[in-house]
Each structure stands twice: as C-alpha cells, then as structure tokens.
C-alpha cells in the first residue's frame, strides 16, 4: 500500500526503537540472528508485545503475550486502530498530509470495540488497549511479522490491517519506525526483485506496462508476452483444469511443500512433461521426466541474494559442484540454445550488470561496491547513492513529489475458512522449529542433537480429555486425510490449539492434511488453520 515490495526498515533500527509489535512471528527460532537485534532493542529498553496464538520462545521474551485465536488478526488490528482513534492518539497531522481514506477507515473500524475484539480474539480487552496505547504513544515503533500473518486465506487483508496502524500513527518512513516482514528464504526478497513474479519484470516494473516492457524488449532483442502469468497456486489449478500440461520447476519442492500435498502430487504426476532442476533428488524430482542436477547457489556458484532489509549481498563459490551438477544460469543458457536462441556464456556478474541496466533501483550496485560496502540496500539508483536504510521517507516531505498519499484499507474479520466442528474440533497450525528448515531437504543434512518437531504439540487439558499421554502415537485427521504421529504434551500451546512443523514429510506427511484454501491476492494457502481430530490409535482401529 506504500508502493514497494519490501520491508521498510534496517535491522539496526529495531535496536533503537521503543515499542515492538511482534505479530505472527517466532523469530527466535525462524530468524534467530534478526532476533539478536530484537534482543538488543529489549536490552536498550524497548517494550515488546507478542501477538501469537502460541506462547512461542519469542513470546517468552515479550513484556506482554497476546495469545489470540488463530485467524483473528484483522479483528485485533482493527480494534487497536479503533482504540487509538477513540483515545485521540492518532497522528492527525501525518494522516491529513500523507494518507487518504481516514474518515472511511474510522467509520469502518467503529464496530471493532475492545469488548468485541476480546470476544473474537480471546485476548483480554485491557491487553489490547495497552498494546494499542503503547504503540501509538511511542516515539518510535515497529511491527514485525512473518507467516503467521500471511499464511491465511486472507493474508493480504492481515498485512493491510497492520499497515493501517502504521499509517494511523506515523510509524513509517522514519528511522526506528516501520513495517518489517521477515523473509523466510535467503533470496525470497531477491526473487521478487528480479521479476520472479507472474506480473512483474525486474525492479517491480509491470509486465502489462508498454513502456516498461519496451525497455526490456530492446535489450533482450525480442518481444515479451504482455499478459500477466499465474502464481504457483493458480498453476496448480490450471494443471487440474488441464490447461497447463508441462512444468519446469527450479529449486522448489511442491510435492512436499504444497498444502493438501497429495492433491498436488496427483496433479504433478498428471502432467505430460515435468522438468525439475534441483541440487537434490527431491520428492518432486522423483516425479519428473527429466532431472537437471544443479550446483548449490550459495556455496558452489557466484551471484547475489537479497535479505529482509533489502540488502543485496554477494554469494561466492567455495567448493566444486559434484558429478554432473552445473550452475543454474548455464543450464538455462543451454536450454535456450537448444530452443534456438544464443545468449552466449555470461558470468553471474555479466547478468547482474544487465539487470542493473534495466532495474533503476539496482543501478548503483556494482559487484565492486557490493564487495567494498558489505552489501547495499535498494533502492540504490546511482553509483554514488549510499543505498536506502529505510523506505517511504517521502511521506514526511512537505511536498509529496506528485505521489499519491497512502490509502487506508478497509478489512473485515472473517476467521479461518475451515470452521471447527464436532467432527474436527481442534485447530491445527504449522510453523518452523529452530534447527530445521522447510521440507527438510537441506536441514536433514546435519545431525541436530535438539531436533524436535515431528510431534503434535497439545495442551495438557486437551490431551487428558482424550486420554492421551506425552509421547503417545495418535491418528490426526482433517477433512483431507489422516497421518499418524507422536504427541508432545506441553503447556505453552493453548487449549483447543495444536501445532506441528512441516520439516519431516518422510516421517509425518503433514501437508496431506493442511488446508489448501488460499488468498486470492497472494496465492498463499491457509497453512496456519486447519480443523482436525486427534484419536488414540486403538480407538481409530489402527493399533
């Protein structure tokens, strides 16, 4: 809503902020070194409110834990917005100068009283009030979030609800104040920046914009398709409809990572042609007609990646790829050659320099500068530009420079798509553990002495009600299927909620039961909220 696809702030800012809202993020485990910066902020006196259904290891460092029900984030944020306005703590000058749609927003959040929010979220009204007041009255405040916000059928609404709070208080566009989505993979930011999105060219330039496209066509020497493509979720829908018949999958393991993964595997198997380019023989690669073994991007090949603070940094080859593994860019170049297009044999630096000639926000970032300056934060449009520690400072300029003021968004509380029922009375949410990663393709390579996460975390009350003991194996079922797994009884998970990771698909194929309802704007599935039933194996006839 502020017009850029990246976190607004530098890591160092959280060390110098006053109030931290950690929302839907277990950064202590999922982003441990970012959390070191948070800890410095806390040591320097910041107050932290952790908004999370689970009392996570991150929440334990917070001053207040707001343990909301899964999927009630919009209600919580709107109630905080309403309370800030009702208490006259909103930044009226900033709103008048830099935003639009405030009156509509105020009217829209009016029904979200603290009492209503308490009823929806399960969090005491007084705690919501305290967090709202602390955030609004702080000199500097940041909202940090991760997949607890985005992996919902209404993930985009969740994000917009948080952006509203920043706009309402002016906690944006200043050092120490900002909106910080923490990225889950070492180049998920860079992938988007490079145009690995269905509607964007590199540097967030629109594929439907004739002027943008013409610039790329001139350099590429060919006409580009002017129609937006499909994101991953829509690709799977198209596979189901039979309109996509072939897929070329690079460095992704959707056969394990997609929600309702059994369905995803069936669709991949039904393709006329599946090509997988990966460093490992993943479960997706096992389904492929052709596997192209590739080198490890960060240890066997040169290039760049971009972090959650928009910092572009160099990766470098340290060891030789084994066997027939080749660099991704060489494989793609050879494929192009077979298709009759000659791209030559560019080095990663050649490719980067071409990118710099086409993407204004990267133009000033030569390999030489990236090396000498320890990486640079975009936008960095010229060779003498220092890079941008934070974004949207223009919101504070007397003259907005012809830009539109930022709009408030109107978001509605919906709750998870899948309602709890007598048949499926427990909520399942998924997430990461400290020493593992995604589908385990990488993290299974080392023996961690503290590895957990293949169990289902349950509150002692729920476990006792079902007569289940710590460590007992049970049958876990959702409307999509069942898996057998062990139970870890632990008090940090609230009554009615269960949690597990998705790191061990070979042991527990959890994504066969997660919900594939997805957000129409982002394409992200609702991994965070499925309805399940837990049964003793004997009762389920499995023993």
């Amino acid at each position: 809503m502020f017009g850029a696809g990246g976190g607004t702030s530098s890591y160092r800012e959280v060390e110098e902020t006053d109030v931290i809202l950690l929302w839907g993020s277990n950064a202590r485990e999922a982003h441990p070194i970012y959390f070191h910066h948070v800890l410095k902020g806390l040591d320097n006196g910041a107050t932290m409110y952790a908004v999370d259904p689970r009392r996570t290891s991150s929440a334990k460092f917070a001053d207040v834990w707001l343990g909301l029900d899964v999927g009630t984030d919009v209600a919580m944020a709107n109630a905080m917005g309403r309370e800030i306005i009702a208490a006259d703590l909103h930044n009226k000058a900033f709103i008048a100068h830099s935003s639009r749609g405030f009156d509509e927003y105020r009217a829209h959040v009016e029904p979200y009283t603290l009492a209503y929010a308490e009823e929806i979220t399960g969090v005491p009204a007084e705690a919501i009030r305290e967090a709202a007041h602390a955030y609004a009255t702080a000199d500097r405040a940041q909202i940090l979030w991760t997949l607890g916000i985005t992996e919902h059928h209404n993930g985009v609404d969740n994000v917009k609800s948080l952006c509203n709070l920043a706009l309402l208080t002016g906690h944006i566009g200043r050092w120490g104040s900002g909106l910080v989505p923490l990225r889950g993979q070492n180049n998920v930011q860079g992938g988007g920046d490079m145009g690995a999105l269905p509607n964007k060219l590199p540097g967030f330039q629109d594929i439907t914009n004739d002027e943008h496209r013409a610039k790329f066509e001139a350099v590429y020497g060919m006409e580009l398709n002017p129609v937006n493509g499909r994101h991953l979720t829509l690709m799977f829908e198209a596979m189901g409809e039979g309109t996509i018949k072939a897929a070329y999958c690079i460095g992704e393991n959707p056969a394990d990572s997609e929600a309702d993964s059994e369905h995803a595997r069936t669709l991949l198997e039904g393709l006329d042609m599946l090509v997988v380019q990966d460093i490992f023989m993943t479960r997706t690669a096992e389904l492929a007609d052709v596997v192209l073994p590739s080198s490890v991007g960060w240890a066997e090949c040169d290039g760049t990646v971009t972090s959650s603070e928009r910092r572009v940094q160099r990766v470098r080859a340290a060891v030789t790829p084994p066997g027939e593994c080749r660099h991704d860019h060489e494989i793609i170049g050879d494929l192009a050659r077979r298709m009759g297009v000659e791209w030559g044999n560019p080095t990663p630096e050649d490719l980067w320099d071409e990118l710099r000639s086409l993407s204004p926000m990267h133009a000033g970032m030569s390999y030489g500068r990236l090396e000498a300056e320890g990486g640079l934060q975009w936008p960095c449009p010229t060779d003498d530009h220092p890079g941008s520690p934070y974004l949207h400072g223009w919101l504070w300029d007397d003259d907005l420079g012809g830009r539109d003021p930022s709009p408030f968004s109107l978001t509605h509380h919906e709750g998870p798509k899948e309602h709890l029922s007598d048949e499926f009375p427990l909520r399942l949410t998924t997430g990461r553990a400290l020493d593992s990663y995604n589908t385990g393709v990488q993290s299974s390579g080392f023996e961690s002495p503290i590895r957990t996460g293949d169990e289902l975390d349950m509150n002692p009350v729920d476990a006792a009600g079902l007569g289940i003991e710590d460590g007992e194996r049970v049958l876990v079922s959702s409307p999509r299927g069942s898996v057998e797994m062990g139970v870890r009884v632990q008090p940090d998970i609230p009554i009615g909620l269960t949690f597990t990771t998705f790191h061990f698909p070979d042991l527990v194929d959890i994504n066969t039961i997660t919900n594939d309802e997805w957000d129409r704007d982002s394409g992200t599935a609702e991994f965070k909220a499925a309805a399940i039933r837990v049964e003793k194996l004997a009762a389920a006839g499995r023993e």
């Binding site: 890591y11 160092r12 999922a30 982003h31 441990p32 070194i33 070191h36 460092f61 000058a93 900033f94 100068h97 830099s98 566009g173 200043r174 050092w175 923490l182 993979q185 070492n186 180049n187 460093i279 490992f280 490890v296 991007g297 960060w298 240890a299 066997e300 990646v305 971009t306 972090s307 603070e309 910092r311 940094q313 160099r314 990766v315 470098r316 340290a318 060891v319 030789t320 084994p322 066997g323 593994c325 320890g374 990486g375 400072g393 504070w396 300029d397 007397d398 400290l434 020493d435 990663y437 393709v441 990488q442 993290s443 299974s444 390579g445 080392f446 023996e447 961690s448 002495p449 503290i450």
Partner: protein, 297 residues
C-alpha cells in the same frame, strides 16, 4: 512536515600514548586508541563483538598517576591521560600473566597467544619444578554429539563463551563458570550434557573461543588424525542459505571441502554470531562419509 533526528555530537579527547599525542572520540577505550596509532595490544578475554569482562589482564597498560595497571580494553580514554604500553612494568606483567595461563592450560591451538608469549619471553617450563601449579584439568574432551566438542584442558576461563551464550548475544544462558579457584570451569547447569541443557547449538561459543577449548567436531576429527592444515585452507565469504536474514558466512575449506563456518565480527547483520542452521547446516552441500570424507551427493 518533518521527521527530525538529533545529530550525534562527537567530542574529541586528547591523550598521550608512548610519548605521542593521540586524538580519539570520547568514550573510546585505551585499547582502541592504541589501535588507531598502530600499537598492537595482546588481548584474550576482549572481543570486538562482546562487552569487556576484565578477567584476563593480558592487555594491561600503565596510566600516569594510577596505582595499578589498568585493562586497556575496558578503560575509556580521558583528556590529558598519559599511557605507557611498553614500559618494563607492563612487559613484566604481560609476561607473567601469559606464563601463568600457559602453565595450567594447553595453548598449542592458540597461535595468537603463543605469538605474544614469545614476544614477552614467557617461559611456562620454569614452573615445572613445582609439582602443584602446573596441574592441568586432566579431563578427556567432552564429545556428546557430532556438532562440537569441549576440551577444558584448553580453557583459560576468559568468559567469552559465557558472554556470547548470555547477555552479549544469544541470551540462552546455557553455560556459566562453576566452582572456585583451581576447580573453576565452564559448565552447563549441574554439568548435564549439552543436549539436556538449555543449549540451542548456535555455536557462538565456538566462534569466540580463543584457544580451541570449544571447537567444531569436524576440526577436532581432522586434528585427531593430524590432518588439520590451516595453511592449506581457504576462507570464502558468502550468505547463509537458510531464512531471509542474510547472515554472512565464512566457509573454511580444505581439499575442496567445507571444514568449518564462521561469521565476520564486523558484519552489520551478524556481529559474528550465527544460529545452528548457519553454523552447522552446511553439511547438505557435502554429506560427509567419515573417515573417507567423500561426498555422496
């Protein structure tokens, strides 16, 4: 409409170090001030990314008007201060401190300390005539998993690992100093094994250990077969492959194989600290098949 910021006002302090006038910002340590005029100072318990704990006394200097020698790593400069870094008293003190440390602890994997011991003429063998003080811990290395080992015969009790595990970085507090005098040692609570302790295997204790008392299992194994060859190793700086924080890694490679991972202390993202995935999660690049260490990917 402005978002205003207070500019930081820097005041400058002038002092004399070894007869030369030096100007540095107020708040600078004597150690840093020495560094700014290329005076090399031995340190042990100090590190760029940790708060000084003042326990080793290796970095002491003489300050005019002060009765005792002062630790240069922790003492801030003052206007008009007169500092001697190479007086007979300083040299003698540094020599003795290093001798004491070396007499009770195995320092053969601490090249930086050995260099200073040679510089000051420290001779640990002169204590050998007394049977008592030269006692080592005499403990076998603690090997409890495949990630890292603890060899307390090499521990000089510099507290760096305790600080990195605690307030200065990790905030996990899995280790502390237990016991007193000759019995003092770094320990988990009640000396339980690491997996049973609060340890989260970030390995930041390895990153700061100056003597090899805590080290990668990969390094320990190679040293055990006399195949740890720092002169044949290369260090390549890259970015970790897990999560999106962008931690810089230094991959230490020997014979085209990664043998350990560190992070630069001056890197703005990590300050030299990593998590378990960054420190140990690289093994998927080259699943190791000990003892041949052949890659099986």
């Amino acid at each position: 409409m402005t978002a205003t910021f207070e500019p930081t006002v820097e005041t400058t302090v002038s002092l004399t170090i070894d007869g030369s006038t030096v100007e540095v910002p107020a708040g600078t340590s004597i150690h840093k001030a020495c560094e700014s005029v290329d005076i090399d100072t031995p340190t042990l318990c100090w590190a760029e990314n940790l708060t000084p704990v003042n326990v080793c006394r290796v970095c002491v200097v003489e300050v005019e008007g002060q009765r005792a020698l002062v630790p240069s790593c922790a003492r801030a400069v003052e206007d008009g201060m007169v500092v001697e870094t190479d007086s007979e008293r300083v040299r003698h003190s540094r020599k003795m401190v290093l001798e004491f440390l070396g007499s009770g602890v195995e320092l053969d994997q601490a090249p930086e300390l050995q260099k200073w011991m040679e510089h000051y003429g420290s001779d640990t063998s002169r204590y050998d005539q007394y049977e008592l003080p030269a006692l080592k811990m005499g403990e076998a290395p603690k090997i409890q998993d495949n990630l890292y080992i603890r060899d307390y015969d090499r521990c000089v009790l510099c507290y760096k690992c305790v600080e990195a595990c605690g307030d200065d970085a990790q905030h996990t507090y899995a280790i502390a100093v237990s016991g007193r005098g000759f019995d003092a040692r770094i320990s988990t609570e009640f000396d339980v094994t690491l997996p049973d302790s609060a340890c989260v295997y970030c390995g930041n204790c390895i990153g700061v250990c100056p003597t090899g008392a805590i080290q990668f299992k990969t390094e320990y194994d190679l040293r055990s077969v006399d195949d740890w060859r720092p002169d044949d190793q290369e260090i390549t700086r890259t970015v970790c492959s897990y999560c999106g924080v962008g931690c810089n890694l230094e991959l230490h490679t020997q014979d085209d194989t990664i043998v350990k991972v560190t992070s630069p202390a001056d890197h703005s993202v990590t300050s030299g600290m990593l998590c378990v995935k960054g420190r140990f999660g690289w093994q998927y690049v080259q699943p190791l098949d000990p003892p041949t260490r052949k890659r099986s990917r």
